[in-house]
């Protein structure tokens, strides 16, 4: 069993009275794709900044590649690739120049940086835009350029903070494809997201984070198995009738969640539940049977939706 590349014990960060990260424990193995799933403000980005060796922890232990970030910030960062939530490309430079100057920060020789820059522009599908101004790129292209920049030092660990927030579906899929290739090549990925589909697509293992604490940990499939049923029936009766209908459906299915706009009924067989509801004389306006997702896990664990 290889030693973990990241190890956190009782890791905490407070800002005055506010506790952003509240004593979390996790480990990431080499080559693993690890995710922090949680809503905005859960403490994911703060955790990422501590792992990125730019934010000093308030207490607890943290080891990255066997080193303490308090003493070895620059050494650790020499092995990281960072894709922040907010793009921080230099808008005064052109696309390729952004990669060239960034490579120099790691003390790499210019010729090597130039070779890698061209390969990475190809990987990021930006070769034909290499002389473009950063400002002229679309959101998806900027994201891909930021990922290319994060790979210029061939990092041991790639940290991605909400990598696809704000992107359209097509741009997201292109980005996922690129990240999946990195994963196949053995790069350790650590990403935060509040998109359950992203977590399911990219993460081997994840922790569900809320209010600075870890609520659950496991692979997407095992979390769904542990905290939800196989299927979910979603029914709508109209916002003023949902509560009354829910009362009449008590005992139908394994569990029931009443949301403002719909009712979720968890069971192993959604179609059978729908038949029982109809037999009770209830007629939903719409109904949908789907497989359980991480969204349902989060709802079960916190009583809240991921995207609020």
């Amino acid at each position: 069993m290889p030693q973990p590349v990241i190890s956190a014990r009782q890791l905490s960060k407070t800002y005055g009275d506010f506790t952003a990260v509240d004593g979390i424990d996790f480990e990431v193995a080499p080559g693993e794709s690890f995710g922090l799933l949680g809503p905005n403000g859960a403490g994911k980005s703060t955790t990422m900044r501590m792992v990125g060796a730019v934010s000093t922890r308030t207490s607890g232990e943290l080891s990255i590649l066997g080193l303490d970030p308090n003493d070895h910030g620059p050494d650790i960062r020499s092995q990281l690739g960072v894709v922040p939530q907010q793009d921080n490309l230099d808008q005064e430079l052109r696309v390729r120049d952004n990669l060239l100057v960034y490579g120099r920060y790691f003390g790499l020789p210019r010729r090597l940086i130039a070779e890698r820059a061209d390969a990475l522009l190809d990987f990021a599908q930006l070769t034909d835009r290499k002389k473009a101004k950063v400002d002229d790129l679309s959101g998806g292209m900027k994201r891909r350029l930021t990922i290319a920049r994060a790979l210029i030092n061939e990092p041991r660990i790639l940290l991605l903070d909400e990598p696809t927030t704000g992107l359209d579906p097509q741009a997201r899929h292109i980005l996922w494809d690129r990240l999946f290739r990195l994963k196949e090549q053995g790069t350790t990925l650590v990403l935060t997201t509040h998109y359950m589909d992203e977590a399911e697509q990219l993460c081997d293992r994840l922790v569900v984070v809320d209010k600075g604490s870890i609520m659950a940990e496991g692979s997407p499939a095992s979390l769904i198995r542990q905290y939800s049923s196989r299927e979910v029936l979603e029914v709508r009766f109209g916002s003023d009738k949902n509560a009354e209908a829910a009362e009449r459906m008590a005992g139908v299915g394994d569990r029931l969640e009443v949301l403002p706009d719909r009712i979720l009924i968890y069971s192993e067989n959604g179609e059978a539940v729908l038949e029982r509801i109809t037999a009770l004389g209830l007629e939903p306006i719409t109904s949908l049977v789907r497989r359980s997702s991480l969204e349902d896990v989060f709802l079960r664990l916190t009583g809240r939706s991921l995207i609020e």
Binding site: Q3, G31, L65, P74, S78, E92, R104, R156
Partner: protein, 275 residues
């Protein structure tokens, strides 16, 4: 499938940090010089255009109203070293105002730099190396044009390129000490220009000796780094006579401001990047 052990990774990290720890500031300076590609033409045009405009207007135009000169020298010789120091101040005040705010806010490159092995202190050092180079080149061009105007009688005149650059940097780091703390733009830059830079320009013995001011206004000049830089320039370009202790004070004052300003700016950067 990776076969790398953490022990290898640890060594690789320790090796990877060596060059950035040593040369990080120079990498940042390199970056900033490359970023000049976008505005190098404008910068060069200003470096030649500004001295010509000022020297014609003041040295030829205004000087005709002061035919007796100031002390033992012509008005042009008197005003030239002040204009050099002012030119350095203009470059450094521009470079330490919006670009610092931008680097944290609108074009947040400082966070990108800090995510690599570069530290907050190195970012400041690198920015300042670039700014000092810009100021030096600007002042050197200014000096060359002043020589062409025949306004540098002293053989030590070329040393004023260094003194003017030092003056600009002493003022620049004071400005960056402030601008590195600004979170929201509420017109602070315009205020700084109007109530900081402009009064410095007018009350630092630039156009007339400080002694011409009422006694109660003169301390304003003594506190002004631009006055110290201007007086130092006058000693170097035409051998203005003053007690040696005063010359030493000029150098000491400017150097102290530079050291304190750099220290404070680095402190602000490190604190702001570590959130």
């Amino acid at each position: 499938m990776t076969t790398t052990t953490v022990r290898d990774d640890t060594q690789r990290a320790l090796d990877g940090g060596v060059a950035p720890r040593r040369f990080g500031a120079w990498y940042i300076a390199e970056h900033r010089i490359l970023a000049m590609k976008g505005y190098a033409g404008d910068a060069l045009f200003q470096s030649f255009g500004n001295p010509l405009i000022y020297l014609f207007a003041l040295g030829v135009g205004l000087a005709s109203l002061v035919p007796q000169g100031v002390g033992d020298v012509s008005y042009l010789e008197f005003v030239a070293p002040a204009l050099m120091a002012t030119a350095a101040m203009t470059v450094t005040s521009n470079e330490t105002s919006y670009p610092i705010m931008m680097g944290f806010k609108w074009n947040p490159i400082f966070y990108g730099m800090n995510a690599s092995p570069i530290t907050g202190g190195q970012i400041v050092s690198g920015m300042m190396i670039h700014i000092a180079l810009r100021a030096f080149v600007t002042v050197a061009i200014y000096f060359g044009i002043i020589v062409l105007f025949g306004a540098v009688p002293s053989a030590l005149g070329w040393l004023s390129i260094g003194s003017a650059t030092l003056t600009g940097m002493a003022i620049g780091v004071l400005i960056s000490t402030y601008t590195s703390t600004i979170e929201e733009d509420r017109g602070q830059m315009a205020m700084l220009q109007r109530f900081g830079i402009m009064p410095l320009f007018l009350f630092s013995g630039t156009f007339f000796p400080l002694e011409q001011l009422p006694v109660w206004l003169q301390p304003l000049g003594w506190a002004s780094p631009l006055w110290h830089g201007t007086e130092l320039g006058r000693v170097l370009t035409y051998g203005a006579t003053e007690p040696i202790w005063l010359t030493v004070t000029h150098v000491g004052y400017l150097t102290t401001l530079l050291v304190v300003g750099l220290w404070a700016t680095r402190k602000h950067f490190v604190r702001r990047l570590n959130k």
